[in-house]
């Protein structure tokens, strides 16, 4: 699913992608929807098990698909209206709000990119 996990009291602490403030606002700061520079850099828990011939340690769900959004270098840049790519490690980054906005606006901004994503599986 395209989107972010919001804090959920039923889920273990730390599993939310972004934490809205008391006014339900979110903003830049290194939190958001996780992305990787390429399929080789996906962590094993996100790499579907069905592709284990390529990554023998894969532990991802087989109901998951691997999606790609555009091509280009993995560096801080605007990726869509209201969204910024924020790489935080060589193999990981987040798509974060480009500026402070309501959490619903952020989710809508992410949803608006849906048609730009293509399945990119081995």
């Amino acid at each position: 699913l395209l989107g972010v996990r919001l804090p959920d009291p039923a889920k273990p602490e730390g599993t939310a992608d972004i934490a809205p403030d008391t006014q339900d606002n979110v903003g830049p700061g290194g939190k958001g929807m996780s992305v990787a520079p390429g399929i080789e850099q996906l962590p094993i828990e996100r790499f579907p098990k069905r592709f284990r011939t390529l990554r023998p340690g894969a532990r991802g769900s087989d109901t998951d698909r691997i999606w790609r959004h555009g091509t280009g270098t993995f560096e801080r840049a605007s990726v869509a209206q209201g969204l910024m790519l924020h790489p935080d490690q060589a193999d990981h980054g987040v798509v974060e709000p480009a500026e402070t906005m309501n959490v619903e606006q952020y989710e809508q901004a992410l949803a608006a990119t849906a048609s730009d994503w293509v399945i990119d599986e081995p």
């Binding site: 273990p12 284990r52 769900s61």
Partner: protein, 430 residues
């Protein structure tokens, strides 16, 4: 020079350990056919959360471990290599293992070396993960090797030992008690179970520990009896030795001192060339305030023990008794057996005092004192002795002779701990 502290890595990094445990939970869920469940997804989310605490090498090792763990469900996908290369793999595995290149061994095993049975691959994996100090992972593979070949007691023994070393002490103790309660347990597993329980009991208050000490005494006695019925080739003397030491210590903790003394005597009788046996017997006598300790340490020194402690003990005794030439000889030997700066400082200091007493040149004595101070600059007693000597020299030997203060005898409890760890390490290697 950077003052920044090095970040703990791999099994010393809590994020790595957490990710590893989550991986095992996910592996178990997937093995149970629940890999697509909400619980599995929660674990995946939690794993992703730990990623920020891992560096690329740690992430890579988690991925490699994940690949290895597919072995436990017989789903491992081996790396494809040409047949002629595959035939060479066992020799490469052996060479890499002997050279202690454990990560290379693990990588080679992922190509399914020809002629290595699954239990042998699981066992070697356990040894490698253990050597990489990843005892949690080691325990999983030893346990699996034991399931594949229950008739080999070493697998169960190694698995139990790895659970303890992984820091899961309560689990290890529970398993050890179960193993001991089973009357058909193989002696090798009994010895390791007794060792786990003995280590546990040593950490507990005396009244709480007594039942476990009693279990250790009984288990080792049973293991020894059953071991006697085994062919010589099926015995591992270092494991037996350690078991007997555990029994002696537990007897002592139970207040059965005469039996403990007899146990130590039996060990020195049966392992007369083991300096550790003599040192441990000597340490027991020190705790009993018995003057016999000295003869045991002399025996260890005559065996050219690689442990410095008997030299320290005897040199200290000779110094107090004014046998200065003996002090010099013991210190000269003792220095060869320790890399510990504080211990080396003591040997140099006592040599200086002994040489001064024997009338050696001031320069010789000064150099020895200065070496000692350089090795242990915060030792107040040592500095006091060096200053007393310099004061005497400055007065051109006209004043009263320097009043040296002999440092206290080395702490036997500390030595006991270090020695037991050293013996246990040898038993594990065997």
């Amino acid at each position: 020079m950077s003052l920044e502290q090095a970040r703990p890595r791999f099994a010393s990094n809590p994020a790595y350990l957490r990710c590893q445990r989550l991986l095992k939970q996910l592996q178990e869920l997937m093995a149970a056919g629940e890999g697509e469940s909400a619980r599995a997804d929660d674990i995946r989310d939690a794993m992703e959360e730990t990623r920020s605490g891992l560096d690329p090498a740690e992430s890579r090792r988690i991925e490699e471990l994940s690949a290895d763990l597919y072995m436990l469900t017989d789903e491992e996908i081996f790396q494809e290599v040409p047949a002629e290369q595959r035939a060479l793999l066992p020799a490469r595995v052996r060479d890499a293992f002997q050279a202690r290149r454990y990560e290379e061994v693990l990588a080679l095993l992922r190509a399914n070396p020809e002629g290595l049975s699954p239990e042998m691959i699981a066992y070697v994996r356990g040894r490698c993960w253990s050597a990489l100090r990843d005892y949690e992972a080691a325990a999983w593979f030893f346990d699996y090797a034991g399931k594949l070949r229950p008739s080999n007691p070493s697998f169960a023994a190694l698995a139990l030992d790895a659970v303890w070393k992984a820091g899961r002490q309560s689990d290890a103790v529970e398993q050890a008690r179960t193993v001991i309660a089973n009357l058909s347990t193989h002696p090798r597993v009994l010895f390791v179970a007794a060792q786990v329980l003995a280590r546990w009991a040593q950490q507990q208050a005396k009244p709480t520990a007594a039942p476990d000490h009693a279990r250790v005494v009984e288990a080792v006695a049973r293991a020894l009896e059953r071991e006697n019925a085994l062919p010589e080739a099926h015995r591992i003397p270092s494991v037996t030795f350690l078991g007997r030491i555990d029994r002696a210590r537990s007897l002592e903790q139970l207040g059965r001192k005469a039996e403990a003394r007899e146990a130590h005597a039996g060990i020195t009788r049966d392992y007369p060339t083991s300096s550790e046996a003599w040192i441990l017997a000597g340490l027991f006598e020190i705790r009993m305030n018995d003057g016999q300790a000295e003869q045991y340490f002399k025996q260890a020194v005559e065996l050219h023990t690689r442990h410095a402690w008997p030299y320290l003990y005897l040199a200290h005794r000779r110094l107090v008794n004014g046998q200065f030439q003996a002090v010099i000889d013991l210190c000269r030997s003792g220095i060869q057996h320790t890399a510990d700066d504080e211990e080396r400082a003591r040997f140099y200091e006592w040599s200086a005092i002994a040489r001064h007493a024997l009338g050696d040149p001031d320069q010789t004595v000064r150099e020895l004192f200065n070496t000692a101070v350089a090795l242990d600059p915060l030792n107040i007693l040592l500095r006091h002795n060096r200053d007393a000597f310099e004061k005497f020299v400055a007065a051109q030997h006209a004043g009263p002779p320097p009043e040296f203060e002999a440092s206290p005898a080395p702490d036997s409890a500390e030595v006991m701990h270090a020695l037991s760890a050293s013996v246990a390490q040898e038993a594990q290697a065997a």
